[in-house]
């Protein structure tokens, strides 16, 4: 149930069988977004970061962990179902049932056991993918929270004291970019995100076609 590595998340990861739960990282994501927005207000060259991060909000790794736990439980149960059918069939000895229809039924038992193993394998793969995805997203949230806090702090310190290498460089780049150029940068960012969306569609398509055969 709780198998697999989980990057720690405040509030933990609730069991998939409990209702509610999740969403404990939302405040961190909104704070991150706020910090990027604050930094971008002082240094317009950072607007790109606001857009880039904004498109990944909201993300809930707890839901992903929950789904991964769920798939893992399903995988175990489906596999156990096939095995117990095979065991029960084998427990009827040839001294009690020996005929052509026994051989035909044995064939069905084998088919069922193979089908349930395929379904269990698919569920296991899904569980693994969701676990990796959940940990990557958690790392992404923490990383951006740290970066945004640092950036906002540097921008604020620079604006107050008017110094600092980071501030000077970012301010110089902000001044150098005209409004049109800044819009161009944002447009390129949107295009990249659309490309990311296409990649996600492709991944979803592949995920469905290649990894879930046993579940159809």
């Amino acid at each position: 149930m709780s198998g697999g590595f989980k990057l720690p998340i405040p509030g933990g990861t609730p069991s998939p069988y409990e209702s509610g739960g999740g969403g404990d990282l939302l405040w961190m994501q909104l704070t991150t977004l706020g910090e990027y927005a604050f930094a971008a207000a002082i240094l317009p060259v950072l607007q790109k970061s606001v857009l880039k991060y904004g498109l990944t909000v909201p993300v809930d790794p707890q839901l992903l962990h929950k789904a991964a736990d769920g798939w893992s439980a399903i995988s175990g149960n489906v596999s156990a179902s096939g095995e117990s059918m095979r065991d029960q069939h084998d427990s009827v000895s040839a001294a009690s049932w020996q005929a052509l229809d026994r051989a035909a039924f044995g064939q069905k038992v084998t088919e069922f056991a193979m089908g349930s193993q395929a379904a269990a394998d698919s569920a296991h793969r899904l569980s693994w993918i969701l676990r990796v995805l959940a940990n990557l997203w958690t790392a992404w949230i923490y990383f951006n929270f740290a970066t945004a806090t640092f950036t906002a702090w540097l921008a604020l310190a620079g604006a107050l004291s008017g110094g600092g290498r980071f501030y000077a460089e970012m301010q110089a780049r902000s001044v150098a970019l005209s409004i049109e150029q800044r819009l161009l940068v944002l447009r390129n960012e949107v295009l990249w995100d659309l490309f990311g969306l296409l990649v996600a569609c492709g991944a979803a398509w592949g995920y469905d076609k290649i990894l879930t055969n046993g579940l159809k």
Binding site: A67, Q88, F105, K108, F112, A119, D193, A203, A204
Partner: protein
């Protein structure tokens, strides 16, 4: 592989018992009870739209579709086990019928 000429053994009660064992859910260890345990999907297993942000929504949507199809698949598997139980009952019933007719034939002769 058995040929038509080889001995056929039918213990009707054993065949019926196998059929019952496939769907019995009192002990929780039968194939159907395992499936039903799996088939009761965790209530929050569907990710919904907000789980992967704007850029990840195709994945979240596809995942939820897979959950729906897996639910159907597990239901079908449980149904097929019930079908197997019925087949075993029929097989056992056929033996009963054959024996009855055999006895009648013998009596007539």
């Amino acid at each position: 592989m058995l040929s038509d000429e080889s001995a056929r053994i039918y213990d009707r009660s054993a065949i019926k018992r196998l059929g019952d064992a496939l769907v019995d859910d009192t002990t929780g260890t039968s194939p159907v009870s395992h499936l039903e345990e799996a088939g009761v999907f965790p209530p929050n297993m569907r990710l919904g739209w907000g789980a992967l942000g704007v850029v990840g929504f195709p994945l979240a949507r596809e995942h939820d579709r897979i959950v729906a199809s897996a639910e159907r698949k597990l239901g079908d598997m449980a149904q097929s086990l019930r079908g197997h139980r019925d087949e075993l009952y029929t097989a056992s019933g056929n033996v009963d019928t054959a024996e009855m007719e055999n006895t009648e034939n013998v009596r007539r002769i």
